[in-house]
């Protein structure tokens, strides 16, 4: 059954919403260009950190500790004499890993649960709403601090906490979109032609629901990075000596009155990356929802 009824222009991935076309539309605005550039630099620097980093980020060199930026150490060194620039690059890998896995998982789980809630039986919808609202009533950072205090700090735990907190957001949007689509003519037609629920959800609902979720995902990337940074700043995130931007900020904060460079070096990538993903998310929103697009 390949010749299914599918109204043109309804799917997020219809002809003018394919990734290449979407990117072209994003790049039409200065905000989009800045966002894409920052995100690209962020991803590439993280991906190629081992090639770019001038030093081993774990190599302790006590005599060189707390150096100011120089040609030898572009962003100076930390309290253990480790090269801050190299640690920033490797910290970016942690951020990418965390953001990719945590946001990806949240999106996938939220999408599935939201679609089932919107298309499935009423009792399941009510159960999901109750679950989503219950989880969302816990502030992420507070929940994270409570759980990490009990279980001990780890990157995996930070990811798990973020996923648990982010799923309701994705789930609610997926549910709302599914509810809006479930009684549309093309879905009803599919249903009357005998298509299974799974097929309808996968082939027709999901492509139409995933667009808004991608916007939310782009917006959530800086959130998860800052949550990790916040937890690491409090000493509840990644374990030493793994470099993360939050732990770099934490270490720098302790010696701020001796040297400001570790805090500057740890804070700047966090700010810039957050800005980049926010710009990208807003640009994507403008593409997927032209009604919200700002007129020049």
């Amino acid at each position: 059954m390949t010749d299914r009824f599918e109204p043109a222009g309804e799917s997020a991935f219809s002809e003018d919403r394919k990734p290449a076309a979407t990117l072209r539309m994003v790049l039409r605005t200065p905000q989009g260009v800045i966002g894409v550039t920052i995100v690209a630099v962020f991803l590439l620097s993280a991906l190629f950190a081992p090639a770019i980093a001038p030093y081993d980020p774990f190599q302790i060199n006590i005599p060189d500790r707390l150096q100011a930026p120089s040609l030898n150490h572009l962003l100076g060194t930390d309290q253990l004499g480790r090269d801050t620039f190299s640690r920033i690059l490797y910290g970016g890998r942690i951020a990418v890993q965390l953001a990719g896995i945590a946001v990806g998982l949240s999106l996938a789980i939220g999408l599935v649960l939201g679609m089932i809630a919107g298309y499935g039986p009423r009792w399941f919808d009510n159960l999901m709403l109750l679950l989503f609202d219950t989880i969302r009533s816990f502030p992420t950072i507070v929940m994270a601090m409570a759980v990490v205090s009990l279980t001990g700090p780890s990157l995996e735990m930070v990811m798990a906490i973020f996923v648990i907190n982010a799923v309701p957001g994705f789930g609610r949007i997926a549910r709302t979109q599914t509810l809006a689509l479930r009684n549309t003519e093309f879905i009803l037609a599919e249903h009357s032609l005998g298509a299974s629920t799974a097929l309808i959800l996968r082939r027709h609902i999901m492509p139409n629901v995933v667009g808004p979720l991608l916007i939310l995902a782009a917006m959530d990337v800086p959130v998860v990075i800052t949550v990790e940074a916040g937890l690491s700043f409090l000493g509840l995130g990644v374990l030493p000596p793994t470099p993360s931007w939050g732990s770099l900020l934490n270490e720098g904060f302790r010696i701020l009155r001796d040297t400001p460079w570790p805090v500057i070096a740890g804070g700047l990538p966090l700010i810039i990356t957050t800005l980049g993903f926010t710009f990208l998310g807003e640009s994507l929103r403008d593409v997927f929802d032209p009604k919200l697009r700002k007129e020049p």
Binding site: F58, I60, L80, S149, G235, L239, R257
Partner: protein
């Protein structure tokens, strides 16, 4: 829109402020102020008071308050670099007549506040008797009884000789004395309101979470303190306290060890740095019973693998003396050499001899910057000899439960950790936590030695210095031989203060306000 020619215009204000700036900048920022003819000292309080009763206090800040307003028999003095005791201003006579008898005679005329009459020997007896049933009774284990020979005189009788009692108890917080009648009226104990005081200062005001103010006691017959008023201002955080000092809000504050180099090399104007003592002792502990560490060669390898000098340099900015055992510098019996040291080649050799490979350990530590930095150096050092280490930072609750059997089963998983204890001025105080009895309580390393226990018991009653020194040396050797420790450093109790102030701070870090003087 018109501008009034009258009053202060915005431009005029800015110009005035610019002109006033240099003038204000030339004023001293010292806050040892003379207001309405009074000299006022502003000191930083690190933690708010909770219980001021010597029998039930937490310690630290409470002891500083007690020192200002309560009597005691003796206080600590530093004589040519060695800490010893001297009779307090309340005493007409105080002496150790023999190893188990301390006689005292009080001066007359020291009056309790709130109309509770004169400070007498009855108060001394009541104070010491109640310590025997208090939370701090362990400090007075040697006390048998107090015999009174007159209204102002008596004898403290000990069960056995206790040379440590002077510096660990009589001169410390547990040696502060209370008013019998007032304490009984208060129901036998009290918390933040002392029912009667007898010192050069009285507590004029306590605003919880803010400050505590002492003013001179008008009825005090003893030597008058230099300051009319002492404001003990609460600033929890060390960095905030340093900023408060630099802004002139306080005249004296404890500083973090990481800040010491900055203040030593480039002090703010009119500032001196004082190190009161180094009575903290830190070590890397190893659970000798843990299956991963039962092999003594592995533990010895770790003893030789840790580069303590790098830890002191990176985590403590070269401001903490290196430790060679648990007895800190300045305390009788302190060593200048341990039986092991940093020797990575020897460490690798010992690892090879142990036959253990692929060892993975968990290093648990308090989640504090200096400890985390130390842990990372240890991690790198152990990696050099083939031991993979995972650092687990813990909050104080879980950390302090780690090796204690009464707190759960965590002690079974405890492998290695960074620990720091603090002690008093007598070496006996330091060994008490490492006896066989303490296994499962504070002896987290879980080794036992009959010889250690026996020497420790003898040390408590030994009065001959040469023999004591021999015993203290042997006790530290036994600890080395257990291969349960890598000695790290002795963190200093460091303070910055106005150079016009001569502070008196006991080596454990408490202020003795009554002996502060203004230059």
């Amino acid at each position: 829109m018109t501008h009034s020619k009258q009053g202060l215009s915005r431009r005029g204000f800015v110009a005035g402020a610019i002109a006033a700036g240099p003038v204000l900048a030339t004023l001293p920022n010292a806050t040892i102020v003379r207001a309405q003819g009074k000299t006022i000292l502003n000191a930083r309080l690190q933690r708010d008071i909770t219980v001021l009763d010597p029998g039930y206090m937490v310690g630290g800040t409470e002891i500083a308050v007690q020192y200002a307003v309560m009597p005691r028999l003796a206080h600590v003095v530093n004589e040519s670099g060695t800490f010893t005791w001297a009779p307090s201003e309340y005493m007409a006579a105080l002496s150790q007549d023999d190893p188990t008898h301390i006689s005292f005679e009080l001066k007359t005329g020291f009056m309790w506040t709130n109309g509770y009459g004169e400070f007498t020997a009855e108060d001394v007896k009541y104070s010491l008797d109640r310590m025997l049933v208090s939370d701090w009774k362990d400090k007075w284990l040697a006390l048998d009884r107090v015999e009174l020979s007159g209204p102002y005189s008596g004898t403290i009788v000990l069960k056995h000789p206790s040379p440590a009692i002077w510096l660990t108890t009589i001169t410390a917080g547990a040696g502060n004395l209370v008013c019998k009648a007032a304490t009984e009226d208060a129901g036998g104990q009290y918390t933040t309101e002392i029912p009667a005081t007898c010192g050069p200062y009285v507590i004029a005001e306590w605003t919880p979470k803010q400050r505590l103010v002492f003013t001179r006691n008008p009825d005090w017959p003893g030597p008058m303190p230099d300051f009319d008023e002492v404001r003990y201002i609460l600033v929890d955080d060390d960095t905030a306290a340093e900023l408060a000092y630099e802004a002139g809000e306080v005249d004296i504050t404890r500083v973090a060890v990481s800040s010491l180099p900055r203040y030593t090399q480039n002090p703010p104007p009119d500032t001196n740095v004082t190190v009161a003592g180094h009575l903290q002792y830190a070590w890397l502990g190893m659970n000798t019973e843990h299956p991963k560490l039962q092999n003594e060669k592995v533990r010895q390898a770790i003893q030789h693998a840790v580069d303590v000098d790098s830890i002191i340099q990176a985590a403590y900015f070269d401001n903490a003396p290196r430790s060679f055992g648990i007895v800190p510098p300045g305390v009788f019996g302190s060593r200048s050499q341990a039986s092991f040291g940093y020797d990575p080649a020897k460490a690798r050799e010992l690892m090879a001899e142990s036959g253990v490979s692929g060892l993975e350990l968990e290093l648990k530590t308090l989640n504090q910057q200096a400890r985390i930095v130390s842990a990372q150096i240890i991690q790198a050092n152990l990696a050099d000899i083939g031991i993979a280490t995972k650092i687990i930072p813990l909050d104080s609750g879980p950390f302090w439960s780690l090796g204690r059997e009464s707190k759960g089963d965590e002690w079974m998983d405890a492998q290695i950790w960074i620990m720091r204890f603090g002690g008093a001025l007598d070496p006996l105080d330091y060994f008490q936590w490492f006896t066989s009895e303490q296994v499962g309580n504070w002896n987290w390393e879980r080794w036992t030695s009959e010889e250690f226990d026996e020497i420790y018991q003898k040390l408590a009653t030994e009065t001959d210095d040469a023999r004591r020194l021999e015993m203290i040396s042997r006790l530290q050797e036994i600890m080395d031989e257990s291969a349960g420790y890598v000695w790290l450093q002795h963190e200093p109790e460091a303070f910055i203060h106005r150079s016009s102030l001569n502070p008196v701070i006991v080596p454990t870090g408490e202020y003795d306000f009554r002996r502060f003087t203004a230059a």
